[in-house]
Subunit: 339 residues, 2 copies
DNA sequence: TTGAAAGCGCTACCAA
DNA sequence: TTGGTAGCGCTTTCAA
């Protein structure tokens, strides 16, 4: 690596002390355009010129070693490339950038030991806070990190304990709204698909479905089609469900995950069923598929932007010891249209 | 922030010098399970125990300040949340992790000034190298970064100059292969859709299409439907193209971007055309839509994993001053099936 | 408004 | 095999 320009180089070249250069380099620009530091305006200007000419860039390692601040946070999700988290990460990057923070991203791969490693690694980088989407079995890991006293905000999935801030989505309300929408269209025989293992978000959506059906006096029509989780491609399973549902006069489905939604579309093609004529859907999350059939398929989307914003703001408040509501609940909402 | 355990705490507690602790903490584990450092095994063990008990974690800022190494690289693409880059970033994260490197991700938003800022910021973080997907107008910015002498590898888009390594995909060959596939199915009247502005990847794919048509003696059937770029949703434009193409007896299309592919599907529905009966497609990139119609739609996928791997390895070689081929060309390949 | 100097935690160098 | 110590580049404190 080529030798970089240091603060001493600038100081020497400008004929001032390093202290002065440090003042100037860290000065904020006031609204009147002047620099907010106890330095003569001319001197400051000269320092700025020299710094620019020499291509000076502050060495963050040195600065943070001395000051104890890094203005850096870590965001750990299960998979940064999944559309859901990719979008959240992107927003976080933007928001943090504007607030003068840098974000370190990492993926836990749904592995608690890896999450543990990553947290240690991030602590080594002196991050000031953590935004984490917990993975299965990460309770102990996170409570340990809580004991490091590093400000932490949980997103997407919950873990009990008051060491964390939380920004979560009300899945029960989402399932309720999805079902209400279909009821509003006039459907009475509405079914939902669920899984045979406990996946909190899906179970809650199913509960919301059940509540909506009950409230509408349709409890007799409640039918939760339970599929085995993750063994085979769900497409064939869904096809089977649809075939039978069609025979028994069902007219609408809530498909409470993106995967089930995709499988639903596959099944429609396979069974030669037509959207709107044979079934109406409310799907989940975003997919290219939802735009395909005009005017688009109604689907529930999570407030990704809001998750990013609220979680970052909450984390910042915790870091700065400001009072803040530690438990934020957001709502997904129904999108009717397509492209 | 709570006071963290430092190397001195460990040294004091273990009754040894900081030097020794440093040795132990930086020792690699040999294949026989022993630590590769000039320290008595018992002493080393004791230090390890104390470090663990005290929850010691190396302060990377201090280490890198002193050693001049950070084992950190930066990856700057236009948008970390786009499926294409998200996938590449994910692979890079994995590969780098295994190699003991940390990756700083950032999105340039297709803005050259922002790219410039980000590079400066990354240099401030003492990254040892850069993997960059250049955006329009970033030539100057990158040549400047080249002048910082920071090892840089370009991906996805090219910029002339020998200060960079490159890992690029042969788009011409991709367009050629896509077209060959349709010709192999027996199609003779194959068209392609392009844009009225120069987008290197699309133009190259069109060239590959033309070459394939010529080689097959179908030059008379070459037809490039040029669409205005980015003004309106391309779906309607594509619908118009399809309607006319259908009338003039065209039987197949190469759709050289994901967006055009999606629009193609939309147009098919809109015009009540049936896949395989009316048109065959070769699409581009990945989409949920390609799996919808059994047995799936053939599409060209880019070697994302390979891009990540080659670019990281190349960057590492440049950093380590090892000889390496600076210009790597990869190939996209055709995927026939669906889910 | 300016500067000298201490020291953040670590690694590298040299000496024992 | 072990330890003492300089110093990486910066911010901070204190004094001028």
């Amino acid at each position: 690596m080529i030798k970089k320009t240091t603060i001493r180089d600038v100081a020497r070249e400008a004929g001032v002390s390093v202290t002065l250069v440090s003042f100037v380099m860290n000065a904020k620009v006031k609204e009147n355009g002047e620099l907010d530091c106890p330095v003569n305006a001319d001197t400051a200007e000269r320092v700025l010129q020299v710094a620019k000419r020499l291509g000076y860039k502050r060495n963050n390692a040195a600065a943070s070693l001395r000051s104890g601040r890094t203005h850096t946070i870590a965001v750990i999700t299960s998979d940064i490339s999944s559309p859901f988290f990719a979008e959240i990460c992107r927003h976080l990057e933007n928001i943090a950038y504007k607030a003068g923070y840098t974000v370190l991203f990492a993926s836990s791969d749904e592995s608690a030991p890896k999450l543990s490693n990553l947290i240690d690694k991030m602590i080594g980088y002196n991050v000031e806070g953590l935004i984490v989407a917990p993975c299965a079995g990460s309770e102990k890991v996170l409570h340990r990190s809580g004991s490091y006293n590093i400000p932490t905000v949980l997103i997407d999935r919950n873990i009990p304990g008051d060491a964390f801030g939380r920004v979560l989505v009300d899945n029960e309300a989402g399932g309720y709204e999805a079902t209400r929408y279909l009821i509003g269209m006039g459907h009475k025989r509405i079914e939902i698909i669920g899984y045979d293992i406990e996946i909190a978000s899906v179970s809650e959506r199913v509960k919301g479905y059940e509540r909506a059906m009950q409230e509408a006096g349709l409890e007799e029509n409640i039918r939760v089609n339970v599929l085995p989780y993750g063994i085979s491609p769900s497409a064939d399973e869904v096809t089977k469900v649809f075939r039978e549902a069609h025979l028994r006069g069902t007219s609408a489905f809530v498909l409470p995950t993106k995967k089930l939604s995709k499988s639903g579309f596959y099944a429609m093609t396979k069974l030669n069923l037509r959207m709107h004529r044979d079934f109406d859907f409310v799907c989940y999350d975003e997919s290219d598929v939802y735009d395909l059939i005009p005017p688009g398929i109604p689907h529930m989307v999570q407030p990704l932007h809001e998750i990013a914003e609220k979680s970052f703001n909450l984390l910042l408040n915790i870091i700065d010891n400001k009072p803040a509501e530690m438990n934020v609940t957001l709502h997904s909402h129904l999108v009717e249209g397509g492209a």
